[in-house]
Amino acid sequence: MIINHPLLGPRDAAEFVYLGDAALIDRPDPEAENADEKFYEYGYLRDNPAGEHQELWYHEQGDRSWLVVTRDTLTHEITSVKLARDEAKKRGRDK
């Protein structure tokens, strides 16, 4: 597979390490009332869709950036690659 890095251009996926669903960015609020339930879901339950999947890849043999890659799990087609840091900020993780 080839991941078209937003800054570096196309790179062999072998340079990357895969983590999983990009929902892992959405770490629950530990202070929330049902934090244990939320953390259980965060830690363990996955949509695991057959089709479009937003997922986290880490460019370990590259610029060390975490990326959010939108990839179809049936065809492996990649339709979007973004810096996870930007995505995390967009989701309000920078407070």
């Binding site: 570096l8 251009g9 790179r11 043999q61 610029d63």
Partner: protein
Amino acid sequence: MADFTLTAEPFLGRFEQHYDDVKLREIYDVAVVSAAIPLRKLTAAKKAVRAAFGVDLPEVGLSALSQDSAMRILRLGTDQAFVVFPRAQQDTGAEPHIADLLGGVFYTTDQSDVWVTLELSGAGARRALERICPLNLAPDAFGIGAVARTSMEHLGTVIIRTCDDSFLLMSASSSAHSFLHAIETSIANTA
């Protein structure tokens, strides 16, 4: 008090070898300082680079020579650059030097001893790299000054194109011998 002095040793013993149309040597007197751009300080960082080196902070994936050609600035990531320059073997002052030059804007870390640096040059350089480097090194895809981090034979490597047929290759110093072996094998296999 101290009766002892420590002598630095180049990682590959100043390796140098000429093959038919390829030359490979260890660049043993090189300082590497990483300079991280503090959060939300990109503008200040750019200014500092301009002031220190007389050139613009290169875009990610590119490098630039300082105005006096003494230093090469590699932009390896959004918030990370390396400054690479010659130094004396015993010299350990690279990091404070760069920190000063950059006016304290960046977070600097001495990386000189993290990396072993090889220069691979000559008409056969690309042919040898074809065996271990997954990147497209065609001049229109990876021109002079281009820099990338990738993996060669299971070793993380920074590759910089310095001329048409000359590349700097930096890899972890602890595996310097394996790295050299990988490059030498590539040269031998394509000779």
